[in-house]
Amino acid sequence: MNRDALTERVPGLPCIQRGRGMSSSSSTNGAAAANSDFLLQVEGVRKEFPGVVALDDVAFRLKPGTVHALMGENGAGKSTLMKIIAGIYRPDSGSFHLRGKDIQLASPLDALENGIAMIHQELNLMPFMTVAENIWIRREPKTAIGFVDHVELHRKTADLFGKLNINIDPEIEVRDLSVANRQMVEIAKAVSYESDVLIMDEPTSALTEREVSHLFEIIRGLKKQGKGIVYITHKMNELFEIADEVSVFRDGRYIGTHAAKDVTRDDIIRMMVGREITQMFPKEEVPIGDVRLSVRNLSLKGVFQDVSFDVRAGEILGVAGLVGSGRSNVAETIFGVTPATSGEIFISEQKIVMDRPATAMNHGMAFLTEDRKETGCFLILDVLENMQIAILNQGFTKAGFVAEAEVTRNCDQMKDALRVKTPDMHERVENLSGGNQQKVLIGRWLLTHPKILILDEPTRGIDVGAKAEIHKLITRLAGDGVAVMMISSEMPEILGMSDRIMVMHEGRVTGFLDRTEATQVKIMELAAH
């Protein structure tokens, strides 16, 4: 194996000190199962959390100069495995070899110094610091007397961005960046460590298509330098575009590794779910009824203008548009989170002043927000407390006292109906996987028996199995006469689920497409305008 390829440096970028060669067993043949053809090799890893075996006898082998995709439903153990590799968790048992050497990582910092960097699903940037300060934090260039050398800091950042072809001002504060640009900064930061192993946990979930292809260019460049990239994704098309190898996990177990060119999409899905998924989008034609929600010339100053549309009972209105097109803001305004500056909202032809979410809820509206962690879950509260919160304003109380038995029974039934995987109703929601958190939130809203359901990215970051369940559920709700407004960045979801598609661009509606005429190209034309 060509070791020089691994240690090759991008000229002009500083090296960080790393703990190479510090391990006691420096002989390549020292460890039993270690194979130095692999950049990273873990075998027989086990990790338990209270109530759950997160990983059981899991193996993972990463070759230099490859992109290795990890696939699996939420809760399959991908994120846990990556957190072990990045030094965040310690495995209960199992071996860990980096470049053939047996090591144990004590902390994320230890992992970084050993050449393993991770880009987290949650963004970890400091909002009140500049882009440059964020990237070089803990490694700031210093002047002779020990102050941060801002000139050099700027130069290094501009240099890095130049190489990665990123067009962001290094001096701007991170809070002023869009989510997509923050993600690019995170990626640049990880690259700046010049790690040999780069872990990307769903890096594209906040990116638009153009930015995704930019990211892939960066990844291909890193591959050429002999780096190994671990790529966690739920998006099949990305996998076939960028990955060389794919490992599949299911229920905390390692299922297998294949070359990406040798497997089909159906093969992978079969391995992931252990069963055949016959139909991805169970769209059914249902009778479309009267107009339930009607929006006229709705504006929120500086955010979106003149938005008008109708949603009918039984109809699924898909809302497409690039990140920053104002889709989510429209949803928030309709639900009364940020009241409109002008325009009108009608529910069943009755004009309503949407001043707060409670008003919207009183008129039969429910709103699944885009950001599970920020505006959805009460992470430190339990499943029951998370599910019951929206119905407590709807008659489940007597003289202020919560009808515990009735509420618990309802929530329990909902939990079973949605197949939420949790030890019991008193598990903290932060201990559930993303897909199960999402189901808890959907349960919260379905308990209110909504007539109008607004869904903002209902399946973001969710595995194929749970996704199909949620799609089936949405279809069934539409069949029951619920008017559904569904915002999504995933083209197949929009095309597969919607009766009609509204496309937005920079705060304006640029067009409507009927189910029969909608294609990916037509949507993109309207979205990019």
Partner: protein, 341 residues
């Protein structure tokens, strides 16, 4: 599916066992530990028992019952993710106001010479009302102007103390009626404290008010989207805290049979300490009244214990500071362990 259940069965049983231990159990063990510590030192240095002394045990709770009444309100504020720095000053202010309506006509220089010998509910109502208004102002400032609770209640802390002094130009209010003084006699302060604690323990655990309070503290954005009128609820919580401060002012002035402008100085810190020692998280969303009651009693045991051992008041304060910090360190460690396990 069957295998999945099998692998999960064992840890689940373990979890349920752990869950049956309420979070207050830990802090209760700490209380017992501190009490036994004084018991042991008592036999060694003083030659008598610390615990087997009914009179002392009464005093232990009696002297902290005013702090305890405050802490019940402050705990609820902290659960929402806020803080109330004004409770001690509001005690001073409401003590003055309540006492001024409780004076007897025997006294020549009453605050309101024409309003003496009033029935006891009038001074009580005056104290409660003054506290309620202070709380409503705190809550409204936080809900409608968006300023941080720390600032809003800091302002109230300074202003309420000013009002307490201005009210009689610094003169104490004395010669209170016997019926008013009765409120602070015997173990009535303890009974009032425990009743208040019981009421709000039930309110936090079993009512919509309680569920919303925890939800706001856990994630205010999610609470808002879930249809909770966050502003209105916060006003309620701060109003209750103010009302309880007023009640504490009434109890304290009745117990001292006078109203003094300096009453309740730094009580807000003791109340916060009692909540935090009892397991309430300053980050919001976590806390229970039972824990706060135990936290309050720990403060009382420490004060009595040191007095019992005839240790200087200076040392008492130093050790109290250490205990507060230690309690939070232990609690955070415990929570982290539980999360990761």
């Amino acid at each position: 599916m069957a295998t999945e259940h099998a692998t999960k069965a064992a840890p689940r049983a373990e979890m349920q066992r752990r869950r049956k231990m309420p979070p207050e159990a830990n802090i209760f063990v700490v209380l017992l530990g501190i009490a036994l510590f004084f018991e042991l030192l008592g036999w060694v240095f003083v030659g008598q028992s610390f615990l087997i002394n009914p009179q002392r045990l009464t005093v232990v709770i009696l002297q902290v019952s005013v702090i305890g009444i405050l802490a019940v309100g402050v705990t609820q504020v902290i659960i929402t993710g806020g803080i109330d720095l004004s409770s001690g000053s509001v005690v001073g202010m409401t003590a003055m106001m309540a006492a001024s309506f409780a004076q007897t006509s025997d006294f020549a220089r009453a605050v309101y010479p024409s309003l003496t010998d009033l029935p006891v509910f009038i001074p009580v109502a005056a104290g409660l009302l003054a506290g309620l208004i202070a709380g409503l102002i705190n809550g409204s400032l936080i809900a409608y102007t968006g300023i941080p609770p720390f600032i809003a209640t800091l302002g109230m802390m300074v202003a309420a103390r000013g009002i307490a002094k201005w009210y009689t130009r610094g003169q104490p209010v004395s010669m209170l009626s016997d019926s008013y003084a009765a409120i602070g006699s015997w173990i009535w302060p303890v009974i009032i404290f425990l009743m208040v604690a019981f009421i709000f323990h039930i309110a936090l655990r079993y009512t919509r008010y309680g569920k919303f309070t925890y939800a706001i503290g856990a994630n205010v954005q999610a609470a808002r989207v879930s249809g909770i009128n966050v502003g209105r609820h916060l006003i309620k919580v701060y109003a209750i805290a103010g009302l309880l401060s007023g009640l504490a002012g009434v109890v304290l002035s009745a117990r001292a049979i006078s109203g003094q402008a300096g009453m309740g100085v730094s009580y807000e810190l003791d109340a916060i300490a009692a909540s935090v020692i009892g397991g309430t998280s300053l980050a919001g969303g976590v806390g229970r009244i039972t824990g706060t009651v135990i936290g309050t009693i720990i403060l009382g045991v420490m004060t009595s214990g040191f007095t019992f051992l005839r240790i200087d008041a200076y040392y008492q304060e130093i050790v109290k500071g250490v205990i507060i910090v230690a309690a939070v360190i232990i609690d955070q460690h415990r929570q982290r362990k539980r999360r990761k396990a």
